[in-house]
């Protein structure tokens, strides 16, 4: 399936009713609806990121996961909780930790999101800096 205008399709979240894909060089997600059997239905369409998301000059959106209630979590420099409405994905919350430095992706395990803290900015000057997984509580 072709995604018109895509820059760098990066990560995918497979939800019950749709598939969501990040584009690291764009300010929109791509959504593909799924039927009851999990098959794609129709064309890929954009979900514009609105709210706190700011597309940087370079690499932006990276990891994406679906939360149990249907909201999405986007790892993009910070970690944003998104709620879908029509053709938009709006920021409704920010998960933060003082040690986060360019997180890349996350995995939902129980009631927490575990994100890879890539520390790209730090590694540029300190190649042997410690990298780690950081726990972010969802509630």
């Amino acid at each position: 399936m072709v995604v018109p205008g895509a820059g760098f399709l990066n990560d995918v979240a497979i939800a019950r009713k749709a598939v969501y894909v990040t584009d690291s060089f764009g300010d929109a997600l791509t959504v593909v609806a799924l039927d009851g059997a999990g098959r794609p239905v129709g064309e890929a369409s954009p979900l514009t990121l609105v709210g706190d998301y700011k597309q940087p000059g370079g690499f932006g959106a990276n990891g994406i996961r679906e939360l149990p209630g249907g909201d999405l979590v986007l790892v993009s420099g910070g970690v944003l909780v998104l709620r879908l409405h029509r053709d938009q994905a709006r920021t409704i919350g920010v998960l933060s930790d003082e040690e986060l430095d360019r997180p890349t992706t996350g995995a939902l395990i129980g009631s927490a999101l575990y994100v890879v803290n890539g520390r790209f900015d730090t590694l540029a000057s300190q190649p042997d800096a410690q990298v780690h997984v950081t726990k972010l509580r969802l509630r």
Partner: protein, 131 residues
């Protein structure tokens, strides 16, 4: 001996997995465990995925290595050995930019069965491999 064993801990892969596979709901355990789990320095970690039980998989962009860790104990060990690494910011011949657990996410009963539940998506090689 793996690089990770040298640099991070002496915890064995079997110990990591056995800790992760103890029957207990991950929802209850996520509240416990460390807030920070160290990965190997220089590995350029990128992708992470939930594994069986309280385990997770994390991939190294530097060499394609895949680590397995446990959110409860914080232990991490090498699940898949990576290739030789190139310069720090160069894309390795094999890299692990994405990582997923198997859709059959029931807990394995041994390291051998758990290995079959990790999926690595590589960068330039355009390959997905199951372990």
């Amino acid at each position: 001996m793996s690089r990770l064993t040298r640099t991070l801990s002496a915890t064995s892969l079997a110990a990591v997995l056995s800790a992760a596979l103890v029957a207990a709901p991950s929802s209850a355990l996520a509240a416990n465990g460390p807030d920070r789990i160290n990965l190997e320095t220089g590995s350029l970690p990128e992708g992470i995925a939930a594994g069986p039980g309280t385990s997770f998989f994390a991939g190294a962009r530097s060499d394609g290595g895949v680590y397995v860790g446990d959110i409860r104990s914080g232990a991490v060990d090498l699940l898949v050995e990576g290739d030789d690494r190139g310069p720090q910011w160069a894309w390795a011949k094999t890299s692990a930019v994405g990582c997923r657990g198997s859709p059959a996410a029931t807990a394995g009963t041994s390291p051998r069965t758990t290995r079959r539940r990790a999926l690595r998506c590589s960068g330039w090689s355009c390959q997905a491999r199951a372990f």
